[in-house]
């Protein structure tokens, strides 16, 4: 959603600069411009760019206790090729993404469209859907952990009323990942819903009026007008949720115990990174995992950028 006005602005300023302003603009103007953005650039460099460069460097090192490290070249990357845990964590993260991103986007659009109608008490519903977003992830995880508890949880109690013996939601290796996916979708709907809502309200009324005059039904209107005009927003949300899903950590950390039998089948790439960096104190290998993750996200985002030309409509 943010991208559309931004791109429009960029185009507008480009036109201006190209036409007349470049010639008249003095050097000193540029000096002031750079000076003004310097504080932000400095912050960006120190807190974002520098750590990335350092991580890249550390991925070629091996760490001992308390910050001593030595250069080991490509050893960490060679080790990755044989690491079954890493493979498993990529698989877990993949499953997590395949379920949370499409289902999450689908449900958020559905909720946004429903709450965009003229219905009674819609602000109450909007608030309810947004509540998980402003709740701390730790609190969400704790409450769901209790709901999911196999012996004393609410979920299995309700199931027992209709005679079903519920499974071990968060400690059965086959189910635990899906339990986490449910919580992730539940807690992500609100945020995406707000973005979609604003996207929906940005669609000019005249299109709907024209469609109405032409006698289009509501389903046709949705697929022919709403969805295409919402596509830039969908694109934005899908990129953001994909990157977010690649970096899933907190829910798994909070809901799956360290000695849980389901840890291997749920641990994500970032969880494995955390395990190596802070538990096993193997910071060099952890940095290599982080670099690999960065590259994978970069590639997938690039693919999305190329594909978007086929389905995203900017007016």
């Amino acid at each position: 959603m943010k991208q559309i006005p931004l791109q429009a602005e960029v185009k507008a300023t480009k036109k201006l600069t190209v036409s007349s302003l470049t010639k008249t603009r003095k050097r000193s103007d540029y000096f002031w411009a750079y000076l003004m953005i310097a504080p932000t650039m400095l912050g960006l460099f120190i807190f974002y760019l520098w750590p990335i460069i350092q991580t890249f460097y550390f991925s070629f090192t091996e760490w001992g206790a308390f910050g001593q490290y030595e250069w080991t070249g490509l050893d960490n990357y060679k080790r990755m090729l044989e690491d079954t845990n890493l493979l498993q964590s990529f698989k877990n993260t993949g499953i997590y993404i395949i379920f949370t991103v499409p289902i999450g986007i689908f449900l958020s659009i559905l909720v946004a469209v429903l709450l965009n109608q003229k219905i009674k008490g819609k602000s109450v519903y909007r608030t309810l859907y947004f509540l998980p977003v402003i709740t701390m992830p730790a609190a969400i995880a704790m409450v769901w952990k209790w709901l999911f508890n196999a012996d004393y949880g609410l979920l299995n109690y309700l199931l027992s009323l209709i005679g079903i013996k519920g499974p071990h939601w968060v400690s059965d290796p086959k189910i635990a990942l899906y339990s986490i996916i449910v919580v992730a979708i539940w807690s992500g709907i609100g945020y995406n819903m707000v973005i979609f809502l604003s996207g929906l309200q940005g669609i000019p009324k005249m299109y709907y009026e024209a469609a109405e005059i032409d006698g289009a039904g509501s389903i046709k209107v949705f697929f022919k007008i709403t969805l295409p005009l919402l596509s830039p927003v969908i694109f934005f949300v899908s990129i953001m949720s994909l990157i977010g899903a690649f970096q899933v950590f907190d829910l798994i950390f909070m809901m799956i115990g360290k000695s849980s039998t389901a840890l291997e089948s749920t641990q994500s790439i970032v969880y494995l990174f955390y395990q190596h960096a802070f538990v096993l104190n193997d910071k060099g290998y952890a940095a290599a995992i982080a670099v690999l993750l960065l590259i994978v996200i970069l590639i997938i985002t690039a693919i999305q950028m190329v594909l978007q030309k086929k389905w995203v409509h900017y007016d």
Binding site: A65, F66, G67, K145, F148, N149, A150, D151, Y152, H168, V170, S171, D172, G257, K258, S259, S260, T261, A262, F278, V279, L280, N281
Partner: protein, 416 residues
Amino acid sequence: MMKKWLIMLLTVVLGLLGLAGCSDSKASSDAKDGKAEITYGFWDKKQVPAIEEIIKLFNEKYPNIKVKTEITPYGQYFQKLETAATGGALPDVLWMNGAHVVQYAEGKVILPLSDMAKKDNYSLDNYPKSLIDLYTVDGKVYGIPKDYDTTGLWYNKKIFDDAGVSYPDDTWDWNKLKEVAKQLTNKEKGIWGYAALMGNQGGYYDFIWQNGGHIISEDGKSVGFDQPEAIEALKYNISFIKEGLSPTQAQMTETAASELFSSGKVAMMFDGPWMVPEYMKNPDLNVAVVPKGKKRAVAIHGLSNVIAANTKHKDAAWKLVQFLGSKEAADIYAKTGTVIPAYNGTQDAWKDAVPNLNLQAFIDGAEYSVPLPSVKNTGEIWQYETDILKKAWSEEVSVEDAVKELTKKANEALKK
């Protein structure tokens, strides 16, 4: 326009304040009047009341030293320390356990205390020798012991009474434990006879020693998990789960065994004296000595207070550590029943503080106790134990396969 000026003014003022703040703290650290603010890092929130009382007493003696406490849950404690130590930001005084002391001493992030103790005539003979040895690295003492702990067999009297079984005593052995666990398990009421916890101290370590096995060989080069004695001990442990006498590994990760026990769902379990403040609230609970296997054995371990090498207030930190190891502090620990104080001669006061529990069981344990092994990479080995043995506990892999993998990984860690 007004607003802009206001913001600029604020920025300048705040900036100056920040600078002033820096210089201020520096001045106080150099001050000679002994005024200092130091931090004390630890993990157990059950000990907060006792520690607050000790600090109050400490401040009566040294009103100029302000002590700030910093609690980090045990699960994250050593991860946080590791990062803090790398950045030179450790709390001035902190808790240390036997598993990590070698690593921290060799990494030079904690200070040796022997010289300071000698200079101040601070006697180290007031503590059990095994505990001083635990915190001695390369001939230098790094920690002043604060407490020690062994393991006892906690049990729920009510469940025993309902089933008409007599309470555990010092005649019990492995067979008896199993037999009673069978009698007490009641599927209908949701009661398990025993909780076969997957933990090393007060868990499989104790069983392995009782069966005549060892954890780390005497030369410190290999582990003994793949020895027949160890395999048999692990199998005995897991058999409780297999036979339905204990909650499964999955159940115990979802609901902590200690919670199941204190709410009357588990009849017996091994646990340490650190649970006394919690369990003494429930009048149904009591404790006995752990049953014997081929011989009697139980793990002993104790915590100590150490000083971080990055401290700016070495003198103040040393004063606090001395006080935390003093008889006054031990008396407060004893009086409140929090832990078994390490200071010789104060243990009886601890026992008397909670007369309705048979705390003598823990003190008796010290006689035939085995120190918790401590090498440079203990932390790493513990991590492998959790990762690998949990698969045996959940019956995903056989005990034989699990110990094979564990022994391989642990032996590699020992070589580092």
